[in-house]
Amino acid sequence: MSNTTAAATPGAFQFPEIYNFPPFFTRQPNESTWQEQRRQWCDLILAYYKHNRLYSLTLAEAITEPPFTNRQIHRSLRVDVLRELVDDLVKQGNASWTGAKNAKDSCLVLWRKPEVWASMIYQWANERGLFNTVLTVFELANGDDAVGQEFHNLDSVTLRRALDVLQSQGKAQLFVGTSDEDMGVKLFV
C-alpha cells in the first residue's frame, strides 16, 4: 500500500490550541465534553492527513507518532480511543476500515472523499481530451499529464476507490492487469 507524500503542503502543520492540553489525550468521562473532543480529534486527523498527504493508518503504529502522540507534553491517545474516532470518520464517509474483517486495525483516511477525487479526475480527462483512450491507472495518476493536478501521485488504493466510483457511475471501465498499477482504465462520457 503506497503512502506518498509527494505533494505535501509546504510549511509546518498548525496544531489547534487544544492539542497542547494533556486531557485532550484522555477520553473524557463527561458525555458532552467527549462529543466536543471527538469532533475536534476528527477534524484534526483529517486536516493533518491532508496537509501531509497521508492516506492510511495502522492503529498500533500510528499512536506512537503525531498527531496521536504529542511528544512535547508526553501524551498519547490510546488505541481503543483511536478506534472509536476512526469509527466516527467511517460514519461520516471520511475513512474506511481495511485489513481483516472486524479487526479494525488499519484504515484508509479519506480526507477527500472518493466521489470528489472521481469528479476531479473526470473533469481533467474531459479537459485533456482523454475520453475513450485506455490508460494504465499508474499513468493516469503519475504521468506527465497529471503533473500539477491534485491527484498527481495519489495513493493507489485511494485512486482505485475513486475509479470504482466512476465505474459505478457508468463513466469509466476498469481493465484487470497483473497489479493495481498495471490495471487499465477508459473514461468516457
Binding site: 484522555t26 463527561n30 458532552s32 466536543e36
Partner: protein, 212 residues
C-alpha cells in the same frame, strides 16, 4: 446645572469617548457621581449622547457569541483576560478599542438574560461565567487551589483541605459534569483534573506572545 455642563461636555467629546477607553471610563465615573447612569436604558438620552448605547450592545453580542462558541469546551467559564484578548482579536481594525471595564459593563447589561452572565473570582483569577449555575463553596475552594497550576489531583485537595474521600469525589464529579474540568489519565493512579478556562487563558496568552 452640573448635568447640563456634563451634557455639553459629553456632546463635545463624543468621538474621544468612543475611541479612548481610559477617557470613557472617567466620563462614566463622572456620570455616576452626578447620579446619571448612561447605561440604565439603551434608549436613554444620556446613552445616546454618550453615543455608547450601540457600543455596549454590540460588545454584549460579541461576548455572547464567544461564550456560546466555547461553552462545550470550557463549561461556560472563561478567564476575563482571555475574553478580552479574543474580543480585541475579533473586532475589526479601526473599531473602538476595548478594555476590561467595558466587558464588565457589557456583562452587567446581560444580567437579565437567562444565560446568567456574570463575573466570578477565584483567588486572583477573574472569570466570566456564561451559564446559569451556582458553584458551591467546595468547588470554589478547589478552583482557587488550582488557579496557578491549572490542575489538581484528588490528593492535592485532600492535603489542602483535609476532606474525606466521598466529599472530594463528589466535588470532582460535579466539576466534571459541569464541563469546566477535564480529566488527564496519564498517571492512572493519580489522575489530574484540569480547569480548561485556566489552561486556555495561559495557552492563548503564550500563543499571542509568540505571534508578536
Amino acid at each position: 446645572m452640573m448635568k447640563d455642563n456634563l451634557e455639553d461636555f459629553v456632546r463635545e467629546h463624543q468621538r474621544d469617548i468612543r475611541n479612548n477607553p481610559a477617557f470613557r471610563v472617567q466620563v462614566q465615573r463622572m456620570c455616576q457621581l452626578i447620579g446619571v447612569d448612561p447605561l440604565s436604558s439603551r434608549k436613554s438620552y444620556m446613552s445616546e449622547l454618550l453615543g455608547v448605547g450601540d457600543f455596549y450592545c454590540e460588545l454584549g453580542i460579541q461576548i455572547i457569541d464567544i461564550c456560546v462558541a466555547t461553552r462545550s469546551i470550557n463549561g461556560g467559564l472563561m478567564d476575563l483576560d482571555e475574553l478580552l484578548r479574543r474580543l480585541i482579536r475579533r473586532r475589526l481594525k479601526g473599531s473602538e478599542p476595548v478594555v476590561e471595564d467595558d466587558i464588565r459593563r457589557a456583562i452587567s447589561q446581560l444580567k437579565p438574560l437567562k444565560g446568567g452572565y456574570k463575573i466570578v473570582c477565584f483567588g486572583k483569577r477573574k472569570m466570566v461565567q456564561s451559564v446559569a449555575r451556582e458553584m458551591n463553596s467546595d468547588q470554589a475552594k478547589v478552583m482557587t487551589l488550582a488557579q496557578y497550576t491549572c490542575k489538581f489531583t484528588m490528593e492535592d485537595v485532600r492535603v489542602a483541605f483535609g476532606w474525606d474521600e466521598d466529599r472530594i469525589h463528589s466535588c470532582v464529579d460535579d466539576m466534571l459534569r459541569s464541563g469546566i474540568v477535564w480529566m488527564d489519565e496519564y498517571n492512572e493512579a493519580y489522575p489530574e483534573y484540569w480547569v480548561m478556562a485556566f489552561f486556555s487563558q495561559l495557552n492563548s496568552a503564550l500563543t499571542m506572545a509568540n505571534a508578536e
